[in-house]
Subunit: 330 residues, 2 copies
DNA sequence: CTCCTATATGCACACGGTTGCATGAATTGG
DNA sequence: CCAATTCATGCAACCGTGTGCATATAGGAG
């Protein structure tokens, strides 16, 4: 492998001159620079960034820890982070933590050892554990998702409450009177906020809440969907707290011969890719996942003066084909 | 930031002793080792892997260049690479090349500068360009996908031909006599092979091929689907060369009021997540994407003796709900 | 007591760049 | 023609860790 010292020898200069020439230092004469460039080219030189990294104290790398690569939901987050990082000429180190705290802490250790210039932790359950690991050396970190409103750590999340409110409002405006809500696991922060949004909308309009609990998986949507749709007075609309459960509900409705959207409106949350591609594409609330990724990178890298440590992004109601005017009551 | 020299000073030893102690060198006495461990702990020491990297000449990092993070199809590949790399205690640097050769070469340069221990290039169109960049320094590389059978470079792909053959055969065994094939863009290598597999199966059974060309996008599936299903004698089964196009065809059928699978069987290729989640889930040929990722890492990292430079994995026919016995001819 | 052998640790250099400061050469002004 | 200044380059230290070899100390055998 050819180094700057090799080039220096060939060009009859010192290796510091080579370094400066290749970095366009104006103090090196154009003639020398040109010569060095030429020799470098001839020898097939390739910069070894490891030297620079050690000398300059930066790694031009950021780390991203994602709970579960398997879940399509995180894909746009990764994309956002990758693209924004690339804009800054930064590389991305990706770790999947399998939603397991041990792996998560392991990933943090790994990235700290690599001295990444910044760390993005997505949807962790253990803020304190991570901060504890990072604290001794004050590594810069940004969290995405799962954020408490009064979190002392820099985070990015979206407004689940108002997103859920919008979704419920949408159904109400279509004339639905009986709107069931299929909640996520209520230990989770966003699940609680989404429930709140639903409740607020329903109560503001003098409707009675009808709450069921799932666990954000498709199969829980299916099971609970079967139950709620077999009730004597079944809802005319279901708001599922995420798309996976919404798809489970659709499955259940399908098996029960209930037509969507004519006989049942369904709305989800997140705007996950598979839901977009259904034959009757799902109406949902889009979480700006890609933008969340981009913003996280910006917060980490943008010239040191973070305007704010907390960012809450808005959501967007995406009306597609699964919501429909309520049928009149007989 | 506390370094080994700091620890050494505190513990009254030299930094080489610290290095050895922390690496469990048996030559350091248990007493000293324990003491050094303790001091390291007290000072909140964290290994800086950059030093090791430079000293040992390895980076414990592999690079993965993916054409397009946006496409869910690549997700299992990333997962496979990430998991396998983690098993080896390797980190993963991820680059999305936006299916643009310039970005691709840029990504290769970046990873080379970072001195990754191995490079995985997924579905490139420009093997020579990349090898040209890598050649001068003989960086280890493995390609995934888009492989020519006689490629001189180490690659992993799956057997598109036999996969397509299986798909067509499946339809034939269900009694279909008129099976349309919606091909991918025929410049692409796998598109050609899939077409060959289809042709072989159809001809072996004395059926007449009915070939249409798409471009692997959902919308091309929709457009061509509309056309082929509006023919006077429309096919009873469609084999789309990938899942996205299959979903387009299903959309078209849906709009034309053609019932799937009763009136039309549809089969895809790849087993992309959204196709799995349709209300009537798609029958398809699974490309072992995750395993391809894992294998690529293994080829790069496993103790230097690659058994073979070319791996062609098998595919798996996944029968779900979109294929059905052919209706009898009247 | 002396010699030999383990055992434990330190010294110094290596890895591949970057950078503050010094030095030598060339140019300019008087 | 000399001094002052600018310009181009080299020297050497540095970043944090790993490692071959030398050295110091202790323990055991004769």
């Amino acid at each position: 492998m050819v180094t700057m010292r090799d080039i220096a020898k060939m060009a009859g200069v010192s290796h510091s001159t080579v370094s400066r020439a290749l970095n366009n230092d104006p103090r090196i004469s154009p003639k020398t620079t040109e010569k060095i460039r030429q020799v470098a080219e001839d020898l097939g030189y390739s910069l070894d960034i490891r030297g620079r990294v050690l000398a300059q104290g930066r790694t031009f790398t950021i780390g991203l820890a994602i709970p579960n690569i398997t879940n399509e939901f995180f894909l746009p987050v990764i994309r956002g982070v990758e693209h924004k990082a690339a804009e800054f000429d930064y590389s991305l180190i990706l770790c999947s933590t399998r939603a397991d705290m041990r792996f998560e802490l392991e990933a943090v250790r790994l990235m700290a050892e690599r001295r990444v210039d910044g760390l993005i932790i997505a949807w962790t359950d253990d803020f304190e554990g991570i901060i504890g690991k990072l604290e001794p050396n004050k590594w810069p970190v940004v969290f995405i998702g799962n954020a408490l409103e009064d979190s002392p750590y820099p985070f990015i999340d979206c407004d689940h409450r108002s997103g859920a409110y919008d979704a419920a409002k949408h159904l109400i405006e279509l004339g639905h009177k009986h709107i069931a809500f299929l909640a996520g696991p209520l230990i989770s922060i966003d699940a609680g906020e989404r429930l709140d949004g639903y409740k607020q909308a329903v109560e503001e309009n003098d409707l009675v809440p009808d709450m069921w609990e799932g666990d954000y998986t498709r199969s829980s949507g299916y099971t609970q969907g079967k139950k709620m749709l077999s009730c004597r007075r079944r809802p005319t609309a279901v708001f599922a707290a995420n798309d996976w459960m919404a798809m489970g509900v659709m499955s259940a409705a399908n098996e029960l011969g209930i037509k969507i959207p004519e006989e049942l409106s369904v709305i989800g949350f997140d705007d996950v890719a598979p839901a977009r591609h259904l034959l009757t594409p799902l109406t949902t609330v889009r979480q700006p996942a890609q933008q969340m990724g981009r913003t996280a990178v910006r917060m980490l890298l943008e010239n040191g003066k973070p305007k704010s440590k907390r960012v809450v992004l808005g959501t967007e109601l995406v009306v597609r084909k699964t919501t429909h005017q309520a049928i009149e009551k007989r």
